[in-house]
């Protein structure tokens, strides 16, 4: 019955990521490569030729890629995708990670496990902003096999001297990043020069075509010969056996081997390797997900590394890391995260920003903060001593990932080594809460949040805040108000009204509000906070759960009310720099809520505000049902 021979075991597909600046030809390259390697389903090429003709173009290969994706409406690609293709016996997967917004997070999602990269550079334009950004990322995720494709050489007339000059520039750039490109391929993806077939328009070029360069990418190197690292993923108790499961990150295990367990250092032997529906195993190697029993029957925790006694990992509580920061906001010293390393999780705080990479020229500079989607070297203070290996390209060790309070990944943190404690620098070690936001929300019956009310002096902010506070409290919501006068009476008593002091006032108010909100409270802040920049600062400090509310009262009305007599004093020249008189007020362009107080009663507006806040912090029904 079964007359067809079983195919021989195959190597796993080699993932190749395609990176480069926008419009340097990534899509065209991928389209052309799929066509040249005969990787397209029937009828696809005819469709492309047809669509191209319709638009008066010769064959437009990028249509191919875009038609494989969902973004047909705007012609914009939102997220990475993976396209398999084959060269001879060998399987590849092209990781295509385009998209401009949130590029970094989508690119890293696709590219982090790539074995090699094709860096596409327009030979006419040379390295551009994204060329540098992508090259930097290749270095940080440890991709050392880089094929540089000098694209669009047709525009340079296939001129050897011009092409080689462009190569020299890119070589210098990559050299700064300690990346030695494996090969430069001068090519025209559109014309097919040096893609799958050698171009006869560049007889001087003796190197490989792109497909030859890909075929020469080494197969994933084996991690089996390095010292054992087996991070514990879980411990099961099935029947009477206690079974420790995890994936071997490197090295190998054999029944009878002695291993050390985690930071506590207990020792045990691998008693058995358990499996189901396979032949009995006595050994396993890197890459395998295993289940073992230990003798004696010690109980490791998730996150404990099993390692050989003579090859222990490093141990430290201050660690230097490289960082690629994925958030759209800057990162500052003092911020706390969870550091995930394989299956381990540690509470960490950014103790120092050692240097930040300036993307214009890829040089490192001291800085106060890591810019949005920036690259830096930072020092992390860990809440307890942890075990780690310094990051090495091609290994799974030392690949730290920063995770925020909401379990969202906010950065990649390849670990470099133990950080020296620098004398004179403040070591910051805030401890992290073991109580999650979710736990707090469930206990209180609502989320925390910060409702930031801005408006002119006399607009009615404090009055409204207090009105909403009473209403929310009556509904069982844990609520408090921070207003300008309360703050300036105590916490901010040392501050005046200069621009710098006003900004500091906002910063402190936001920091206090943030702490309260993290403990599950609803905080209403009533502060003039006249500038967009100040409120943006507050938004950054608070992060998720920040709501900007504009109390929109005409200045004439405010001045008429003048509850504290301040407008009168300002008009009389007794107060300088008074908002609305001789200092500007920048109204929010798109607040989460706008409350117009003129022509409405106090009760109406307070009801409205309380309703908005109540809705915003309410747990939805599904969540309530999840209450234990």
């Amino acid at each position: 019955m079964n007359t067809i021979p079983t195919p021989a075991p195959q190597e796993a597909a080699t993932p190749i990521v395609i990176v480069g600046h926008v419009d340097h030809g990534k899509s065209t390259l991928i389209g052309r490569l799929l066509y040249d390697t005969d990787s397209l389903p029937d009828g696809r090429v005819a469709q492309i030729i047809e669509s191209s003709k319709k638009r008066g173009l010769t064959v437009e290969w990028s249509f191919l890629l875009d038609s494989l994706q969902i973004e047909r409406d705007q012609g914009v690609t939102v997220d990475s995708t993976r396209i398999p293709f084959r060269l001879g016996r060998r399987q590849f997967v092209i990781v295509d990670a385009p998209g401009h917004r949130q590029f970094l997070r989508n690119m890293i999602t696709g590219a982090a496990d790539a074995e090699a990269a094709v860096l596409v550079v327009d030979a006419n334009e040379g390295a551009q902003e994204q060329t540098r950004r992508h090259a930097m990322l290749l270095r940080l995720i440890g991709i050392r096999h880089v094929i540089v494709l000098m694209n669009k050489v047709d525009i340079l007339g296939y001129d050897q001297q011009k092409i080689e000059a462009a190569e020299r520039d890119i070589t210098a750039l990559l050299h700064q990043l300690e990346i030695e490109p494996t090969v430069f391929v001068p090519a025209s993806a559109r014309e097919g020069d040096n893609m799958a077939a050698r171009s006869d328009r560049m007889p001087w070029y003796k190197g490989p075509t792109l497909t030859e360069a890909l075929a020469a990418v080494p197969a994933p190197s084996s991690r089996a010969d390095l010292p054992l690292r087996l991070p514990v993923q879980d411990v099961y108790r099935f029947d009477t056996k206690r079974i420790v499961v995890g994936r071997i990150e490197r090295g190998r295990i054999r029944v009878g081997d002695e291993v050390v367990i985690g930071t506590h250092g207990a020792r045990a032997r691998i008693a058995t390797i358990e499996s189901w529906h396979t032949a009995p195993q006595v050994a396993a190697v890197a890459g395998q997900s295993v289940a073992v029993t230990l003798e004696p029957d010690v109980i490791p925790d998730r996150g404990d590394f099993l390692f050989p006694a003579d090859h222990a990992p490093l141990r430290a509580a201050r660690i230097q890391t490289r960082l690629f920061w994925l958030r759209q906001e800057p990162l500052r010293v003092g911020e706390s995260f969870r550091l995930r390393l394989a299956t381990a999780e540690h509470q960490v705080t950014v103790a120092a920003i050692d240097s930040v990479v300036r993307l214009e020229d890829l040089t490192e500079h001291p800085a106060e903060e890591v810019p949005p989607e920036g690259f830096a070297e930072i020092t992390l203070a860990v809440s307890e001593t942890m075990l780690f290996d310094p990051f090495l390209p091609g290994t799974a060790d030392g690949r730290g990932v920063l995770v925020d309070r909401n379990q969202q990944i906010v950065g990649g943190a390849p670990l470099i080594g133990v950080a020296e404690s620098v004398a004179g620098r403040n070591a910051i070690h805030p401890t992290g809460s073991a109580v999650s936001l979710w736990d707090r929300a469930r206990a209180k019956g609502h989320h925390g949040g910060v409702f930031w009310m801005t408006g002119l002096p006399g607009a009615g902010k404090s009055t409204l805040a207090r009105g909403a506070e009473s209403r929310l409290f009556a509904r069982g919501i844990d609520v408090s108000v921070l207003d300008g006068d309360t703050l300036r009476a105590g916490l901010c008593a040392d501050l005046g009204f200069s621009e710098a002091d006003r900004r500091e006032n906002v910063r402190r108010a936001a920091a206090v509000a943030s702490i309260l909100a993290e403990s599950g409270q609803v905080v209403i802040v009533a502060l003039i906070s006249p500038t967009v920049a100040d409120r943006e600062l507050a938004r950054q400090i608070v992060g998720d759960g920040f709501h900007e509310i504009f109390i929109d009262t005409p200045q004439a009305t405010c001045e008429q009310r003048d509850p504290k007599g301040l407008y009168a004093a300002a008009r009389a020249g007794k107060i300088a720099g008074f908002t609305g008189i001789d200092a500007p007020y920048e109204a929010p362009a798109s607040p989460a809520l706008r409350v117009e107080t003129a022509g409405a009663s106090r009760d109406e507006t307070a009801d409205r505000l309380a309703t908005y806040i109540g809705d915003a912090v309410r747990l939805d029904d599904a969540a309530r049902r999840q209450q234990p």
């Binding site: 079964n2 067809i4 079983t6 195919p7 075991p9 195959q10 190597e11 796993a12 597909a13 389903p41 029937d42 494989l68 994706q69 969902i70 047909r72 939102v78 997220d79 995708t81 993976r82 399987q91 997070r105 890293i108 999602t109 590219a111 982090a112 496990d113 995720i141 993923q233 879980d234 099961y236 099935f238 994936r247 358990e274 499996s275 189901w276 529906h277 190697v285 890459g287 395998q288 997900s289 998730r302 994925l326 995930r340 394989a342 799974a396 990932v401 995770v403 909401n406 379990q407 990944i409 990649g412 979710w438 469930r442 747990l619 939805d620 029904d621 599904a622 969540a623 049902r625 999840q626």
Partner: protein, 264 residues
């Protein structure tokens, strides 16, 4: 380790992550080839048992062979089976094309089960190579309240670190087979001897390549009547796996609309 060993090891890792991090957890079992492979991988991950329930969201329109298969293997594999039904088609968004509207019943049925069992995690056997929107998926794909998939704002996912739910009412779809291709599934079925509904094998020159409801799935022309013959056929085939699925061809955005709303 060859490519199947590697796929298997990665899927086991993902299943164990899901079991550790998402409680309560359940696995979808559509009775098709992929979900049988998925149940099999769970048995490998947990040493012969499946420590969470499997769910069949029943449209009532499956083939009789599939119901027989379900009853037989629930017993043989000692599975805890949760059954859910689907609302009638009249209750489904009438702006969807007919086959997609019919398929959307399953989304509603699934949503009801997730709510009923308060699931934090649902393991599903989708693969990237099946359909363009599936290619965009994460291994751990968080779904907000209303079970919506926000394709434009997916979390970063790399170095085997996955996002877990952080808001009440959220759940996570876990996709342990995302990196598998159709041919990998068949080669693994052959290697492991995983049983299948025999609709996948040719009779009178036709076989099913993908199994959905009776009214929206058609067989393809084929003479492949054994697993080995199916593998040989796939190695030369240039038509897509879901060519027999009506809803994929109704309108350009039908599938995407379904998926955003929570369809698999």
């Amino acid at each position: 380790m060859d490519d199947l060993d590697q796929l298997e090891a990665q899927s086991i890792f993902i299943l164990r992550e899901a079991y550790r991090k998402l409680k309560p957890l359940a696995m979808l079992w559509s009775l098709g080839k992929d979900s049988n492979v998925m149940v099999w991988l769970a048995r490998k991950a947990f040493l012969g048992r499946v420590p969470f329930p499997v769910m069949h969201v029943d449209t009532g329109k499956k083939f009789p062979e599939m119901y027989r298969f379900r009853d037989e293997y629930t017993k043989k594999w000692n599975l805890e089976l949760l059954l859910g039904d689907c609302p009638p088609v009249e209750e489904i968004d009438p702006t969807l094309p007919p086959a997609a509207r019919s398929a959307a019943r399953k989304t509603a049925g699934l949503a009801a089960m997730i709510d009923k069992y308060k699931l934090a995690g649902v393991i599903a056997g989708i693969r990237r190579d099946e359909q363009a929107t599936r290619a965009k998926e994460r291994v751990f794909s968080p779904r907000g309240s209303g079970h919506k998939w926000d394709v434009r704002n997916q979390p970063p996912e790399f170095w085997d670190q996955y996002a877990t739910p952080h808001e009440p009412g959220m759940h996570v779809r876990v996709h342990p087979l995302l990196s598998w291709r159709e041919i990998d599934i068949w080669r693994y079925i052959e290697r492991e001897g995983i049983p299948l509904v025999d609709l996948y094998f040719a009779k009178d020159g036709k076989r099913y390549r993908s199994l959905g409801d009776q009214d929206i799935t058609s067989p393809v022309e084929s003479n492949a009547s054994t697993v080995a013959e199916v593998i040989a056929e796939l190695e030369t085939s240039r038509t897509s796996e879901r060519s027999g699925r009506a809803m994929d061809h109704e309108s350009e955005d039908a599938f995407e609309r379904l998926r955003v709303a929570g369809y698999l």
